[in-house]
């Protein structure tokens, strides 16, 4: 008799877990993807189908099934995006350098760039709901840095299993562990996430003990609280902390001599944001956001046969912002926003590491969304940024969506983006004692510093452009994106995008004079002009309910406009194999370094109803120019290229109904290695992981 209730109880539990397990299954039809809600493109919640600008969404399921641990892992498999190396792993979007893409977490910017690059390995992907990528200038909403586009990482705020534990182990002793907690009461929600990542790093240089990727220990945590004060008001609190320790035995080759040294780096990254959101009525809502972040990096180099070297960078950023959304009527929706930023950097590369260099920004923006008919949506927006340290910037943007046919829609967007001069370009005060004692002075104080050196009799001569040094202007880009989406049938879709970005005022370092000794003095000026243009094609096809094939291709042309003009005027030469000079032709020009003409990726995905999955992903990137060696300053066919390559990754796993899921995977199956040009690509690596959700 006693057995029956327990059996019923057991059945009930089974039922319950079944239900939970089922409710976790996300519909994965092509249709449902268009219904995904995007916040980054308009700073309001909009369905992907109704957006006027091109957006890519990477959802949690894709991240998890691809076995992606760090942000870099998933971004490198996206159309139009390439990883860059040097100063950490950055992302190149439609041919534009990492400096020009703003990285947001829940809409708030990350800081702490080294030479313009934000190391995306800093970001663990454990508790992420989705990643939204907006292509095209978006400064009209986000201000500086949103010149090529925006990558917004949205943390998981949905409620699920109260406790999830994940563990992964792989090649090079890479151990990743995380714990996720979710708690909920009537008007209170809490999510906590802790991640620890440790790796021995790897050495892919033959016959060398110097490691390309160094032993790294990263610890990061995210804590989120949502508190519903009433059914119209809520309060969100989000805190994130990352601590990264790197130990590296560095071998520096200088003119053939190798100097060994031990480097220790400690990077701390703290962000905290809070927002108070209130809905007055069905047509009016407002939110007040406070954000503060600090990035603190300390590097200590203990050279075996030399002096200790210390490099410090401390960047803080505080912001207050209000955004009000007002639906004037069914056809017209307006956003108003304004805010203030206090930003400062302390660095040992400035005149004094104790003095914080400060820049304050005040800004305001507005966006008007007009829907004259069911088929047409027009959005216009503009933002104004006023800075204390450099010229202010206007960023207008116009975009439209035309739903011509149930199967065809067109998007067109034209906008201006900008990137403010960074602190390094303004305040750098760096003299390299090792390599000829050259100096680089930030433009904000170059004239002052050089004038002082001149009174001391240190200056040999000053070039004409020294007198042109003045307040730097932001770098500007004008971007145009045209997209055609074609839903061929319920199981196939194709999207074609044409893009063009024209950049002016590029800030580049240039020699402005010499010391008495002949050593060079550099500063920064607005000199360059460049362009990137091309097209992207993305498509997917569902063969059956289990099998999906998806892929993307980008064709990219880039160039320095001044170099193109010089080549056309017949003043650029190149050398043939015997060393004889000859005139260079325009068709030999390959454009900007580190950009590839072709990038292709394809993915086959299998998902069984029983929870099994398998995916195989291939990425191809064509050759890119890395070094100028044939006697001119432009990149042409005769220069040094990194070879094109293919990397194939695969992962397989199963999710059980009791909350357990297992996965194993192999990255870079063909073991492609290029230690010089692809230090972020280790050889073949294996991993296996286990995750358990303690279901309610």
């Amino acid at each position: 008799m006693k057995k029956i209730p327990s059996a019923i109880f057991f059945l009930g539990l089974l039922q319950a877990t079944n239900l939970t397990a089922q409710s976790r299954v996300v519909k994965d039809t092509l249709q449902s993807n268009g219904d995904s809600v995007v916040v980054t493109a308009t700073r309001t919640e909009r369905k992907l189908n109704n957006l006027t600008v091109p957006v890519t969404i990477i959802n949690a399921k894709t991240i998890q099934q691809n076995g992606a641990l760090r942000l870099t892992d998933i971004l490198k498999e996206q159309t139009g995006l390439n990883l860059t190396s040097g100063f950490g792993a950055g992302i190149q979007l439609q041919g534009l350098n990492p400096d020009y893409t703003i990285i947001l977490i829940n809409g708030e910017p990350l800081v702490g760039r080294t030479a313009g690059v934000l190391d995306l390995n800093r970001i663990a992907l454990g508790n992420i709901k989705k990643i939204e990528i907006v292509k095209g200038p978006s400064s009209s909403l986000y201000g500086s840095e949103a010149m090529a586009g925006v990558i917004n990482i949205i943390t998981d705020a949905t409620m699920g299993a109260p406790l999830t534990i994940g563990l992964r182990y792989g090649t090079y002793n890479t151990l990743d562990a995380n714990i996720e907690t979710k708690l909920q009461s009537k008007n209170f929600q809490y999510q906590g996430f802790v991640n620890s990542y440790n790796t021995d790093g790897y050495s892919i240089r033959p016959n060398s003990n110097s490691r390309v990727t160094t032993p790294v220990g990263r610890y990061s945590t995210t804590q989120q609280i949502k508190w519903d004060l009433s059914n119209k008001t809520n309060f969100l609190l989000n805190a994130r902390f990352t601590n990264e320790k790197i130990q590296n035995e560095i071998a520096v080759a200088n003119n053939g001599v190798t100097i060994y040294s031990i480097g220790k780096e400690n990077i701390k990254d703290v962000n905290a944001s809070s927002s108070l959101n209130h809905r007055f009525n069905s047509t009016l809502k407002t939110s007040l956001r406070l954000y503060t972040t600090t990035y603190d990096a300390v590097q200590n180099l203990l050279t075996i046969n030399g002096l200790p070297y210390r490099d410090v960078l401390n960047h803080n950023f505080k912001r207050i912002e209000n955004q009000t959304d007002w639906d004037l009527n069914k056809k017209l929706q307006v956003i108003f926003g304004a805010g203030a930023v206090w930003e400062g950097v302390k660095s040992s590369r400035y005149d004094s590491e104790k003095v914080r260099k400060q820049n304050d920004i005040q800004y305001a923006f507005t966006q008007w969304e007009w829907k004259p008919s069911e088929k047409l949506t027009l959005i216009g927006g503009v933002r104004f940024d006023q800075n204390t340290q450099f010229a202010s910037a206007y960023s207008p943007k116009l975009s439209m969506l035309y739903k011509w046919h149930p199967q065809h829609q067109f998007r067109l967007s034209i906008g201006q983006g900008f990137k403010a001069p960074d602190f390094r370009q303004l305040f750098l005060d760096f003299t390299n004692a090792a390599a000829g004692s050259y100096s680089v002075f930030g433009s904000a104080q170059a004239q002052q510093v050089i004038a002082k050196l001149e009174t001391l009799g240190q200056i040999g001569n000053l070039f004409p452009n020294y007198y042109l040094l003045k307040a730097l202007k932001p770098e500007y880009s004008n971007g145009m994106h045209f997209t055609w989406d074609w839903k061929i049938n319920p199981s196939s879709a194709l999207s074609v995008q044409l893009f063009r970005n024209d950049i002016k005022n590029l800030i580049e370092s240039q020699q402005v004079g010499t010391y008495i000794s002949g050593a060079q003095i550099y500063s920064y000026l607005n000199i360059g002009r460049a362009f990137t243009t091309g097209f992207e094609v993305e498509g997917q096809h569902k063969f059956s309910s289990n099998f999906t094939l998806s892929g993307g291709y980008q064709y990219l042309i880039t160039g320095d406009k001044d170099q193109v003009a010089e080549i056309k005027s017949g003043t650029v030469y190149t050398k043939n194999s015997q060393g004889y000079s000859r005139l260079m032709k325009l068709n030999e020009y390959v454009g900007l370094p580190n950009t590839s003409k072709h990038k292709l990726q394809a993915k086959i995905n299998y998902n069984s109803p029983k929870g099994y999955y398998l995916n195989v992903r291939a990425i191809y990137r064509s050759k890119w120019a890395v070094n100028n060696n044939n006697g001119n300053e432009v990149f042409d066919n005769g220069d040094v290229f990194a070879s094109g390559y293919v990397a194939i990754n695969s992962a397989a796993g199963k999710s059980f109904k009791n909350g357990l899921s297992i996965q194993c995977g192999v990255d870079n199956i063909s073991n492609y290695i290029d230690a010089t040009n692809l230090p972020n690509l280790p050889g073949r690596t294996f991993y296996t992981s286990i995750k358990y959700e303690f279901l309610q």
Binding site: G256, K575, Q578, G579, S581, R582, G631
Partner: protein
């Protein structure tokens, strides 16, 4: 028919050319052709210093463009040589470098296109005391660039060194290569190759013996 016409035309023009040649035989000299000098060692590296810089004996290789041969360093203080090489430094027989009438400037353009030295050109001389040379020292200044990442020296395309020789005649030089055998080293070359195969000049030049500025 057309073929025949072409033949006749060819015949006629050949005849005219022959007549023209005969007429100017006495005034036009034999066309000058470029001479290529290969593998000229210029203070080659002997090892590596403690400061991480290549070490060498500090020698200078003196060269006569007139006689197309190396001149012994014992004749450094003579007008027997026209140009001299020591690692990336190129000297002309002038000022602090030698007693000659030498001088030089860097012409931007192609070797073959420099048919006559422009009349407004000004030749500089060497002054070691002020670290000022007719062919300026340093990466990107005259004939080469140095890439700190690959540690390689590459001659700049479209640079001609216009030389006034020790005796006051004119010559033009194009530096073709800085590495042994005239073979450009790849960026991935070994440290040893980069160290020991550098400082071997390959260059081509034309020397005009008649004192004119036309090549």
């Amino acid at each position: 028919m057309k073929k025949n016409l072409t033949k006749i035309g060819l015949f006629l023009s050949l005849g005219l050319a022959l007549v023209a040649c005969r007429k100017d035989e006495e005034t036009i000299a034999v066309p000058l052709s470029a001479i290529t000098v290969s593998n000229l060692a210029a203070d080659t590296v002997t090892g590596l210093g403690v400061d991480g810089r290549p070490q060498s004996a500090g020698t200078t290789t003196y060269y006569s463009l007139v006689d197309n041969k190396v001149i012994a360093s014992t004749d450094a203080a003579s007008t027997k040589w026209d140009v001299a090489f020591s690692s990336t430094k190129i000297l002309v027989n002038s000022g602090t470098s030698g007693p000659g009438l030498g001088g030089a400037f860097v012409f931007k353009g192609l070797f073959d296109d420099l048919k006559t030295i422009p009349t407004d050109s000004s030749f500089s001389t060497d002054n070691a005391n002020a670290a000022s040379y007719a062919i300026p020292l340093g990466s990107g200044k005259a004939w080469y660039t140095y890439d700190g990442l690959t540690t390689l020296v590459s001659p700049i395309a479209g640079r001609v060194l216009v030389i006034r020789t020790a005796t006051g005649n004119y010559a033009k030089i194009e530096i073709l290569n800085y590495y042994k055998g005239g073979i450009t080293l790849p960026a991935t070359a070994s440290v040893n190759d980069k160290l020991f195969k550098q400082r071997y000049y390959t260059f081509r030049y034309i020397y005009q013996a008649n004192g004119s500025k036309t090549f």
